[in-house]
Assembly symmetry: C2
Homo-oligomer: 495 residues x 2
Amino acid sequence: MDLKECGYSLANRKQMRKKSIHPCQSTDKDVIKEAHAENVMTNLSNAYASDLLPSKEGEDLTKCFLLRVVNILLHYIEKTFDDKSKILDFHHPHQLLEGLDGFDLELSDHPESLEQLLVDCTDTLKYGVKTGHPRYFNQLSSGLDVIGLAGEWLTATANTNMFTYEIAPVFTVMETVLLKKMCGIIGWRETEADGIFSPGGSISNLYGILVARYKQYPEIKARGMAVLPCIVLFVSEQGHYSIKKAAATLGIGTDNVIEVKCDERGKMIPAELEKNILQAKRKGQTPFCVVATAGSTVFGAFDPLHDIADICETHKLWMHVDGLLGACNQMQAEYLFQPDKVYNINFDTGDKTIQCGRHVDVFKLWLMWKAKGTYGFEVQIDRYMELAKYFYKVLKKKDNFKLVFDAEPEFTNVCFWYFPPRLKHIPKSFERDQELQKIAPKIKAQMIVEGTAMLSYQPCGDKVNFFRMVFSNPATRQTDVDYLIDEIQRLGKDL
Amino acid sequence: MDLKECGYSLANRKQMRKKSIHPCQSTDKDVIKEAHAENVMTNLSNAYASDLLPSKEGEDLTKCFLLRVVNILLHYIEKTFDDKSKILDFHHPHQLLEGLDGFDLELSDHPESLEQLLVDCTDTLKYGVKTGHPRYFNQLSSGLDVIGLAGEWLTATANTNMFTYEIAPVFTVMETVLLKKMCGIIGWRETEADGIFSPGGSISNLYGILVARYKQYPEIKARGMAVLPCIVLFVSEQGHYSIKKAAATLGIGTDNVIEVKCDERGKMIPAELEKNILQAKRKGQTPFCVVATAGSTVFGAFDPLHDIADICETHKLWMHVDGLLGACNQMQAEYLFQPDKVYNINFDTGDKTIQCGRHVDVFKLWLMWKAKGTYGFEVQIDRYMELAKYFYKVLKKKDNFKLVFDAEPEFTNVCFWYFPPRLKHIPKSFERDQELQKIAPKIKAQMIVEGTAMLSYQPCGDKVNFFRMVFSNPATRQTDVDYLIDEIQRLGKDL
């Protein structure tokens, strides 16, 4: 459906109504001519938001406008999945602020026409980043799921809020059903578990620590931290930085987050945890919680959960696990589990959230689950794992790539360096690393400028900048992986 | 565009391409016949999510599926704005859980067909609540803004995250532009103000108090509440309950939130605030923050901001204002202002949020602003104010209605009781109030069952259950207001 056809289809429909004929049986030349005439009239340069519904007679215009928006979106979706399209058309912030080809971000006192809004929509997408592109690997989560997208469109249209059953009857019940299903997967029965969807992983981690604190010290809610001893919590040095943020927010303080050493794969070392707990106690601190990580941000490492659980049991500490099942979530659909019902009575109104209103996050995931089935998610995640293994094997054979640790990936993260020919044979040294440190950023910058791929990099501990590849994009195939390797070599070989 | 036409349009397009003719000039009978034939094939009972993009050749199917979803949404939007449609088709949770007419919320291991997903989408909307209906007044914010909706559809399609400029170049710059504009409106220059969009008003209030605490005690971030004196904050007894929630979350404790008395309109009494501050100091508590409310939840009351500001200045307390500009926001588009740049350096990574990833909330509001202009928002809010005044005047004349306080509304909230004839002439007494208490819930329950209107009620202090009408729905007209009054009388007269 291109722009003309949008008008055509609308106009056509109007004609059909008037003449009471079925569109697919119609061979009436006049209908099409009239449709064409009306189509011209659907130019929206003289139409404004105030002409749309709820304005009287605003119905046809509303449909035309929304269909034209959808047309822009469908075009974008088509390009997103096309590996020959650029991932982005890079510009600097000041260029966007100054206005590119008439794309004016400034807001005025007067309204723009609907036609201009459509141009704005096109431009917004034009200068954005196609996070669903097969060669977009920049974030932990990437890819555009068409079913999830449909779910979001419906959620936006339903435009309600998770306040109460009264105003979101279907969505609140769906959340119950979905959480029960998810709890079942990790082996918790309905009476043992409860949860809510929260706006992201960081807030979920904050909830985890909030619950841990409340469970140990229920008086905290009314009386505050003033009545508590100096409480401390533990997380691996590879744990997510949101744990420290949560500690700052909750009034615990970042100094009271104790980082536990990891092995070379980024897994918490249980003996180190035990040591840290005993040290803290000797210092007069009061341990209350251990945050274990199931799929760390950089390496995709899984902490040894059973060993950590044993230590928590011995020392009577709350264990919060950051991760589990995360791989099946798209951006923003986060969740939270609590291993008992303590949270139901945590806040005076009996509600479970630190928010009041809450966005409807559940429908997207519910619809995706309906569409794929549990097996479908399994297949999807298995595919990412296969791709990660494939990528690892290919890199291992290439002598200008080096893996950050040389073992089959346990999750979908693969971390590696690229060595340009001039650095390849220089043995590890401070000077060599100073040079290597610059390689990934330079390759990345050029990738962005050319819009050919997007991949993140970072240093970690004593390791200088390396690339982190994460497979979570359903559009990515082996050919894209091969392409990425070639692209890194092309952009890096002369650096 | 009905379902058949969706297939028709798609098929038609395919034909057009093949034959290189313009749709609107085509009069070829065969095209339409073939289109009809292809249309039949677009039944999606044998198609699955795995056939959609990024699947090879998934493009046409993806468009057809999404257009059919949009068709369902357009139909829903049409009904939403139709005052003759029901707001909801009420069912109990157990009915939804048991499955209504084949609407099965349970999730299975196996995928459903795309055709079944479309039925699920239809059912989800069918059993939901039309929050954009002209007679939906249930929440502080209501109404469906078509431009905002288009903005949400685009946001979902762009599917990115406010992490960084790198992956959300347009949206991050838009946020800067929009916040600058909003700061300008309340008279803050760019260098004086900063802010972010947060997932709702409660989180915004949490941020407000977090900033107040950090400003007074920067050591809190690293060392926690343990190093602070017993800090207390003040909010009016009509302030939002999220302040207490925030105090619980932040480790301040709900006991350390001191409620300041209000006048009969629900405004904080400055002399009471002063008294409370002095009392707290005498008790050895350390005041650090006053939360003023601009548009309270129940009465829409504005605290005397200037008087409170003077008191805060005298006592060197941070002043946080909950509200400002809120009326122009749709659900979920919340924001936060800070009167200086302290927050920029609040967290170690230099980011401003307690989240890591953040939903793109800005585009919807940006597009609405483009569409309406600042004047358009003014007009819209003025209209709500007019409606509130109209409603007040009509109620004042009706002798079976009584206003909770008898003065022209200052904002868009109007609170009132309905007295059935049997209670009308009984003077105020405990027994009368016991009866009156039951009236609003009964009327509301019947409204929901019949789906004719939705309106909230609550008790407040010594006042038994009263209705709270809030105007924030762009679809509401005077006739809907008249309808509501008649409806309350119809449902309440024999109670």
